[in-house]
Amino acid sequence: MTSSLGAVRGVQHRDEREPVSVERSNETNSKWLDAHYDPLANLYTFSSCTALLDLHRDGEAKLVVGDLGTGLCNMKLKVYKGTSLMTENALLDLPTGVVTFLMDQNEPRTPAVAVASGPYIYVYKNLRPYFKFTLPALDVNLLEQDVWNQAKQDMIDPMTLKEMLEGIRDKADVPLSVRSLRFLMLEQEEMESFVNLHKHHPIKRQTVITCMGTLKKNMADEDAVSCLVIGTESAEVLILDPEAFTILTKMNLPSVPAFLDVTGQYDVEFRITMACRNGSLYILRRDSKRPKYCIELSSQPVGLVRVQKNIVVGCSEETLHAYTQKGKKLWTVYLPSSITTMGLLDQKSRGFQAVMVGLASQEVHLYRDKNLLNIIRTPDVVTSVCFGRYGREDNTLIMTTKGGGLIIKILKRTAVFEEKDTSPGPPLAQGVKLSVPKKTKLYVDQTLRERENAVAMHRIFQADLYRLRLMAARAYVKALEGSVAPISSVQQEPLQMNAVVQGIGPKFKLTLNIQNTSINHPSIHLLISFLYDERLYSMENSFFKIPLLVPGLNYPIETFVDCLSDKGISDLIKVFVLREGKSAPLLTAHINMPVSEGLAAA
């Protein structure tokens, strides 16, 4: 562990001395004590993979985190005690969920840790592997089975097998197994060996766990035995017996569950709320195999928390909705940023419950009903939140961040969250003065002048405007007549030219791009001539022929210009495109030469 801070005692034995604060909260009278912040804890996890429990029955709660490692390897089950990592166990696959529960009535009543991962649930007791549960295999498509059986007896060749499997895939209700799907993707030469390798084994279809929760078996006590509730990729909900690990109940959902929440007792009555990937919430009850209620959200659910009997769901469109158990909408809160995670704050000593919402704006908002009670600013985006007893402190908030950090905060014992008034009063901005642009004395003077001389001003303006228009028109006509524009207006020779100067001097390269813009009339017998100040510039060839111009093509014509002066002056070079035997140019371009930055040629 990198940063072990003096806050250890703050976590273990509560003394009201302010522990070393790592992150300065903006509010001076913050309700939270900063107990620990380790930005390099290297934790990649979600709220569903964190749990607090008294692992050794010694009155000191530990934090169990299912760490996804790099997302590919190095997955671990980590246990934190105080501010340090106590143990870590390697996991074989990505942990989907971590829950703690009591499996049996045996003394001592040590809680077990269940880690869901792929199609398995690993159960740990005293941090020792205790049991592994595997999800039952799914039904295999009978046709597929048949086809593989035929392949096994070498009745069909791989190509036929492929065709038949494709046929099954397109029509079947039961999807194909992994083997068949993989087979369909193979190249022809690989098929044979693949079939030979696999054909002797039975086909099976496995699914994976997507979320996990616990459900009290028959007593509501804190330390009652609980069943595991799991949601699977095959859109099923399973309830497992805690002792025998048999499937007690199996229920179907219309979509794949992503989050779940469970309340009640298995033997009495229970409700399971499932947030699914199709953007709906489904509420399941004890006696029905199908969802009892459905709540269609307008966007994807990002978090699901139950406060007493109401369901609070955070959506990806930056909203927080609350629904009753029967799916009736209660309220909506619009959030300033998108949600990253959600959790329940349950302060048992005061009987206070609120929803914690981690936001992408590096904040955790605390909502009770639709009222925002508290904002915790965090140094990084929070990816998981977990509130409960940690160490010997009942009200601890544990958060992990996107960068892998671990933040532990303690709720001050004196802290009380007040219900603020719903209406926030006039917004602050109402007090801000409007920034009306100021006008100068000059402006006022000019205004007065205009008042007195409006008529004269108007007349002068109008007269000048006419003059301007006249001049513009004259100049235009002149340009047209003298062909001094870079676009030729002559019907027979529609040409267009632009010039580019390259170099820093004294030698410049002049590129003239000439284009014949007529549709089908090539231009021939054209000449180019340059006009320039001979004291300043010299050109090898200032008068030359240009080739036939095919319509539509761009002809770059390059020449070189030497600048003779080293005085840092520049001048205009005029380019004329002429027709053989005519002195009036077809078009003219004026090139403003840049100042020569190099030394003049000797």
Binding site: N89, R182, L197, Q206, V208, Y443
Partner: protein
């Protein structure tokens, strides 16, 4: 610590240490088949949950990395990974690529409704509405009761201009689930058909189902405003402001209503909030400016209008107001420029020509003033002021015949307006009576009713109008502008947006200050329209 784990034996199965692939040999496979042990194939969907979690958290970078890994591992066969990749592509604007990926998904699982929906959505975003409708219909065959399909079908039909079908589908969607978005779309169709009442009904239902949605409340408020039901409009806009006190649209609409009631200070306080959230909104600065104008702070008004004009140089309403304020300030040369700019942008509005004519009159160019009035008379339908001003100009030019003609036209318009119990501006009444007397048409009875009305109500002292010469241009200019300062009209023009309300003859108040207030309402309405378009 990690080692210890590997060595231990799980009760019902054994881990193979050599196997580093996360998947474990199945429990059903005992050790005996050692000679020909097939490598276990990883489950295709094993990381779907992780992809989904990152996707919904909008952590697209990580999500893409996981997808890449997953696709690499499954050789592109993991349908969900492809699906989410396509969704991310679409969010990144690569619609064509995303469509191709969705089509890949459709090959992997042809029966998936979700997939079809996404294909249709991509087609929709590419503007291929007809194709989208076909795919949605196919999806609807697989899943009858899907709100999303019905809603999106409705939206597609909306863009195909098949409003009947669109409404049918949207109503179907509403029966399945009452989403705010569906209500908004349905309301929009009613508005496109010009059926404001229908739209109001839709929005009323929407507000019932989600009473705290400020967007719905604001829109409903604006619709009531258009219909001229001010009480209800204000109620809904007020509600919207209660839930979101910095809702820009609601502030602008509510502010413009306060302005029409002359509550300039209250309106200004509201605008302050909007100015913080939207400091670069042209209509906002236009309205702020008109508040200052109402409070006779002309310099501030000009400053604000110039800012609005800077932000929206092609908005003729701002130019109109600039022209009006400059007329008030007797800066006729400037007024001329703003008004002619406004006319260039909006060449079919009588009031603009009239103001231009007033400016020209003051610039001692009666020739052009007359031509401008002639244009104004052509375009204007119901504003008697145009004819009155024209009559005054003609009278002052000595053309009594034309003046009389215009005077009679004005009388006709006034009579028409009296039916809709409009109040007339006392100054205009006064001026009308004077010119009537000068033209020797006698004390016409045109004004009687209205002048009674105007006597009853308390009104601020009018600036004195010069007696001689009658209705001098100077006086008229003053009349135009000072009247604008009263800001006491109760009626807002209610037509839809832009031009339409001018051709409609609803109860337009017969008052010169029509100008600024009208402009206020218009700009907010226009703005609203623009927002709705988004």
């Amino acid at each position: 610590m990690a080692k210890e784990f590997r060595c231990c034996h799980w009760p019902n199965t054994v881990f193979d240490r050599a196997q580093q692939i996360p998947t474990v040999p199945g429990a059903s496979e005992p050790r005996k088949s050692r000679l020909k042990k097939a490598p276990e194939l990883p489950i295709l969907e094993r990381r779907n949950w992780l992809i989904h979690l990152h996707y919904i958290r909008k952590d697209y970078e990580t999500c893409k990395a996981v997808i890449k890994e997953q696709l690499h591992e499954t050789k592109g066969m993991c349908e969900y990974a492809v699906y989410v990749q396509a969704l991310i592509f679409r969010l990144e604007g690569k619609i064509q690529e995303s469509l191709e990926l969705f089509q890949t998904c459709a090959i992997l699982s042809p029966q998936s409704v979700d997939n079809l929906k996404q294909v249709a959505r991509s087609l929709f975003l590419l503007g291929k509405h007809k194709a989208a409708v076909e795919v949605y219909n196919e999806a609807a065959r697989l899943n009858q009761k899907d709100w999303e399909i019905c809603h999106n079908l409705g939206v597609c039909y909306l863009y195909l201009k098949e409003f009947g079908k669109a409404k049918e589908q949207l109503n179907n969607a509403l029966q399945l689930n009452r989403h705010d978005l569906t209500f908004m779309m349905l309301g929009k169709i009613h508005l496109l058909e010009g059926d404001i009442e229908g739209a109001i009904e839709v929005y009323k239902r929407a507000v019932e189902s989600s009473p705290e949605n400020t967007e719905l409340l604001t829109t409903l408020g604006l619709l009531y405003l258009q219909l001229g039901v001010f009480q209800k409009a204000f109620e809904h806009l007020g509600n919207a402001l209660t839930y979101d006190s910095s809702n820009y649209k609601a502030i602008l609409a509510a502010g413009s209503m306060m302005q029409t009631h002359g509550d300039f200070d209250v309106a200004l306080t509201k605008y302050r909030v909007a100015a913080c959230t939207m400091p670069e909104s042209p209509p906002l600065w236009n309205n702020i400016s008109m508040c200052f104008f109402g409070k006779k702070k002309y310099v501030a008004a000009i400053s604000c209008l110039k800012r609005a004009n800077y932000l929206a140089p092609f908005d003729w309403k701002i130019l109109y107001n600039l022209g009006l304020v400059h007329l008030t300030m007797q800066q006729y040369a400037s007024a001329f420029h703003f008004l002619s700019a406004a006319i260039n942008l909006q060449p079919k509005m009588g009031d603009l020509y009239m103001l231009l004519a007033v400016a020209l009159t003051n610039l001692e160019d009666p020739e052009n003033a007359k031509r401008s009035y002639e244009q104004a008379v052509i375009f204007d339908q119901c504003n008697p002021l145009v004819n009155l001003n024209f009559a005054i100009l003609m009278y002052n030019q000595g053309d009594k015949k034309e003046a009389l003609c215009q005077y009679q036209e004005m009388e006709r318009k006034v009579n028409k307006l009296k039916e809709s119990t409009a109040e007339f501006d006392p100054e205009m009444v006064d001026m009308g009576q004077k010119i009537g007397a000068a033209l020797q048409v006698g004390e016409s009875l045109v004004w009687t009713k209205s002048s009674k009305d105007s006597k009853i109500k308390q009104r601020p002292p009018t600036p004195c109008i010069q007696q001689q010469p009658l209705g001098s241009n100077q006086a008229l200019g003053q009349a135009m502008s000072s009247a604008a300062g009263y800001g006491k009209i109760m009626h807002l023009p209610t037509g839809g947006v832009g031009l339409s309300q001018f051709s409609k003859p609803p109860s337009l108040p017969l008052e010169p200050e029509l100008g600024p207030d009208e402009t206020i309402a218009n700009s907010s309405a226009i703005h609203d329209h623009e927002r709705r378009k988004e």
